[in-house]
C-alpha cells in the first residue's frame, strides 16, 4: 500500500510537473527581451501558400498577413482563385471578424484561429522566465493567459503553447532569413489540426 501511494504520488507529481521541469530546463537570470520578428515589418506584404489538414480533410489557400502599424494586423485567408474565406483584424487588444464564409462561421473554429494567428503576430513580448536547455535559450511568456515557450532566443524557431505542463500547440519556423520564415507549421496536438505555410513572395 505504501509503495502504491509513493508510485501514485510520484506519477501525480510528474504529470502535474511544470513544462520546464519535465524537460529539465535550467532557469537563468537574464535581462533578455523577447521579440517575434516574423510578421513585424509594416513595409512588407506577407503572403503564404497554406495547406490545412483537419482530421482527414485537406484544404489549400492563400494566407496573408499585413502589419498596419504597431500592434495592428490584418490576417486574411483566400482560396487560390482569390475568393475571401476569412478576414480578421487584430488591433491593440481588440479582435474583429471582418468577413468569414458562413459555413466556417463556428465559434470554436474562430476561437482556435484567433488564438493561433495572435501568436504569429504578437511581436514584443515580456519574458516571465528564461531557461537554458541543452542547446539554447527558452523564454516563457503569456498570451491571453496561456503559457508559451519560445525556443531559440534571439532567433525563434519554435513556439510551444502548454497547458498543465503539456504541449498543446507547436509552431515551427524554418528556412529563416532576414526575419522571414519561409515555412511555418502550426500543429495542434490535442486535435487533428495542422496548418503548413510556405512563403510565396
Amino acid at each position: 500500500m505504501k509503495r502504491f501511494l509513493i508510485i501514485s504520488i510520484s506519477f501525480l507529481f510528474f504529470t502535474c510537473a511544470s513544462y520546464p521541469k519535465k524537460h529539465n530546463f535550467e532557469e537563468i537570470e537574464t535581462s533578455n527581451t523577447l521579440l517575434n520578428p516574423y510578421f513585424s515589418d509594416a513595409n512588407k506584404d506577407y503572403v503564404y501558400k497554406a495547406t490545412i489538414t483537419i482530421y482527414d480533410k485537406v484544404f489549400g489557400g492563400i494566407f496573408i498577413v499585413k502589419k498596419i502599424e504597431l500592434d495592428h494586423h490584418r490576417v486574411v485567408f483566400t482560396t487560390e482563385m482569390g475568393n475571401k474565406i476569412l478576414d480578421f483584424t487584430f488591433n491593440k487588444g481588440a479582435f474583429e471578424v471582418n468577413f468569414i464564409l458562413e459555413d466556417l462561421n463556428r465559434k470554436l473554429l474562430v476561437k482556435l484561429l484567433k488564438k493561433d494567428f495572435k501568436v504569429l503576430i504578437s511581436e514584443n513580448l515580456v519574458p516571465q522566465a528564461t531557461y537554458k536547455n541543452k542547446k539554447e535559450l527558452v523564454s516563457q511568456t503569456f498570451i491571453d493567459h496561456d503559457a508559451y515557450f519560445y525556443f531559440g532566443t534571439p532567433i525563434i524557431h519554435k513556439i510551444v503553447r502548454t497547458n498543465r505542463g503539456k504541449e498543446k500547440v507547436v509552431f515551427t519556423f524554418s528556412e529563416i532569413s532576414d526575419n522571414i520564415a519561409q515555412q511555418i507549421q502550426i500543429q495542434h496536438l490535442n486535435i487533428k489540426f495542422k496548418m503548413l505555410l510556405k512563403s510565396i513572395n
Binding site: D45, V58, G60, I62, K66, M81, G82, N83, N98
Partner: protein, 185 residues
C-alpha cells in the same frame, strides 16, 4: 454606351459564346486587398471545353489546378489530389456556372443580374451585379472587359468590401481541339 451599342455588343457576345466549343488561354490573376502594398500575382493556363469542363492551372508562384467537371471540383495542390462534390451546394453550382459564363462573357441574364454597359477607349466593359443576396455577399459585381471581337479579355470580381480579383487573359485561342485528358486530375 448607347442603347444600340449595348444591344449590338450583347448580340455579338452571345453569338460568339454560342459558337465557342473550346478556349485555351494564359491568364494572370491579381488579388487586390486594399491594405496590401502590392496585389498578389499568380499566373497559369485556362482550358474550357463545351458545355461545362473548366480547368484553371496555376503555374506560378505555386502549382495548383482546379477542375470543374460534372458537378465535382477536382483539385491538384502540388501533387495532393482531392475532390469536392458540389451536387448539393447551391452556391458552388452558381459559382461554377458563373465561372463558365464569365469566361465566355455571356452573363446577359437580366433576371439574375443588374447590367450596366460602359465604353472605355476601344473596349467595352459590362458590369453584372448579382441579384441573389447570398451570391452578392460573395461577389458584389463582375466587370467583364470585351475586345472589339466581343471576346473576353479581362474579368474583375469585386467583393462587397471593394477588394477584388482581376484576371487578364492573353494568348487566347478559341475552338482548337483540347484533349479530354487535360481535365483529368
Amino acid at each position: 454606351m448607347t442603347v444600340e451599342e449595348a444591344s449590338n455588343l450583347k448580340l455579338k457576345v452571345k453569338t460568339l459564346a454560342n459558337d465557342v466549343q473550346s478556349i485555351s488561354s494564359d491568364f494572370t490573376q491579381y488579388k487586390h486587398l486594399d491594405f496590401l502594398d502590392n496585389d498578389i500575382k499568380s499566373a497559369g493556363k485556362l482550358a474550357f471545353k463545351a458545355p461545362d469542363l473548366v480547368k484553371w492551372g496555376y503555374e506560378t508562384p505555386f502549382k495548383y489546378a482546379i477542375i470543374f467537371k460534372e458537378n465535382k471540383i477536382y483539385i491538384n495542390d502540388e501533387g495532393n489530389k482531392s475532390n469536392i462534390d458540389i451536387g448539393r451546394s447551391k452556391l458552388f453550382k452558381q459559382l461554377n456556372s458563373l465561372i463558365i459564363s464569365s469566361v465566355k462573357g455571356d452573363m446577359f441574364d437580366e433576371e439574375k443580374f443588374t447590367i450596366n454597359y460602359y465604353k472605355i477607349d476601344n473596349t467595352s466593359v459590362v458590369h453584372f451585379s448579382p441579384k441573389d443576396e447570398k451570391l452578392a455577399k460573395f461577389i458584389k459585381t463582375f466587370h467583364i472587359k470585351f475586345n472589339e471581337a466581343a471576346d473576353v479579355v479581362e474579368v474583375k470580381m469585386i467583393e462587397s468590401s471593394e477588394d477584388y480579383t482581376k484576371i487578364i487573359f492573353t494568348n487566347k485561342v478559341l475552338n482548337q481541339p483540347i484533349d479530354e485528358a487535360v481535365f483529368n486530375n
